[in-house]
Subunit: 161 residues, 2 copies
DNA sequence: ATGCATTGTCTGCATATGCAGATATTGCGC
DNA sequence: GCGCAATATCTGCATATGCAGACAATGCAT
């Protein structure tokens, strides 16, 4: 408690700075390997969570991607136009837009998934399995703490995973 | 090595997903406490690294913020217009734009720094000091690994910190 | 000293996203 | 059934950023 001091709050070694930089670098790294497909990293994540049933409609998807529903609408527009995804205005509740990946989208997710794993494994080559586990565990705890303080609106149904 | 599997590469517990979400949440959290100042989180970081001498010119600042020099130019425009920062076309090399915070900028950094520390400490309230150290150490190693794979262009002078 | 490659910053244009209001649908109380 | 609050998505507009080329200053080879 009271763990961060003035000196460390925005230093190179502050958690905030580190997560930001890692996020940017990894997104760029992965995206550089998607170039032939014209699909962005975020678009790939969108397709993946829809395919895996983690996001079934537009609102779910927005929460999964940590972007607004407005931004999500437009991303779905693009993915639908490119034939990777289809909208389906639900018959039960006609407000919600059910999402499903097409065969083409499914194939794309599969293909790019291997590239993502490969990139991460190149980065993690000098890590032992338990080192990774420790980092991930720490991040999970940190995220939970941040969500608590933010009174996080997306404490949504825990689609076990 | 070969630590990430297909299953875990984009799951809720993947390092990539976690760092992205933590970054977004913390940026929003901090920014919500800056509202009265009209300064964004990134703008505050910019002022801070300039004040601390970590970034002395526009190029340095771009690397510190992980954004392009073009975006940096415009951010400097705003901060200069608001009187927090001054440009000074260097006399030694007239290409570089030396940066310095004004008295007003200095005061702002000081004031907001306390809010940032406070926010982080609220998040970290259930962490022991050594838990934080472990997470930070893991992130530092992860960042170094990512920079290695990216052939990172900003392995710039190690302004010790 | 001249020409040319390099470097640092800036600018024009495109995209991604946030925000706030609009629209459509649902469900609830009466 | 009617009116109204709540919900899910969409749209218009503003901003932040990336990218690629422009421009200015420097320094190096000759």
């Amino acid at each position: 408690m009271a763990v961060l001091t003035i000196q460390s709050c925005a230093a190179r070694s502050s958690p905030g700075r580190l997560v930001r930089r890692i996020d940017k670098l990894m997104a760029n790294l992965v995206e550089s390997r998607f170039e032939d497909t014209g699909v962005s990293f975020v678009q790939w994540i969108a397709l993946k969570v829809v395919r895996d049933g983690v996001a079934r409609n537009a609102g779910d998807l927005a929460r999964e991607l940590s972007i607004t529903t407005g931004a999500t609408t437009r991303m779905i527009d693009v993915l639908e136009a490119r034939g990777f995804l289809v909208r389906d205005r639900g018959s039960a509740d006609r407000r919600v837009v059910q999402l499903a990946v097409t065969d083409e989208g499914h194939a794309l997710v599969e293909q790019l998934q291997h590239r993502v794993v490969e990139a991460w494994n190149e980065v993690l080559v000098d890590f032992e399995q338990d080192e990774v586990d420790v980092v991930v565990a720490g991040l999970i705890k940190l995220l939970a703490a941040a969500e608590r303080v933010c009174g996080c609106p997306d404490r949504h149904k825990e689609l076990a995973e």
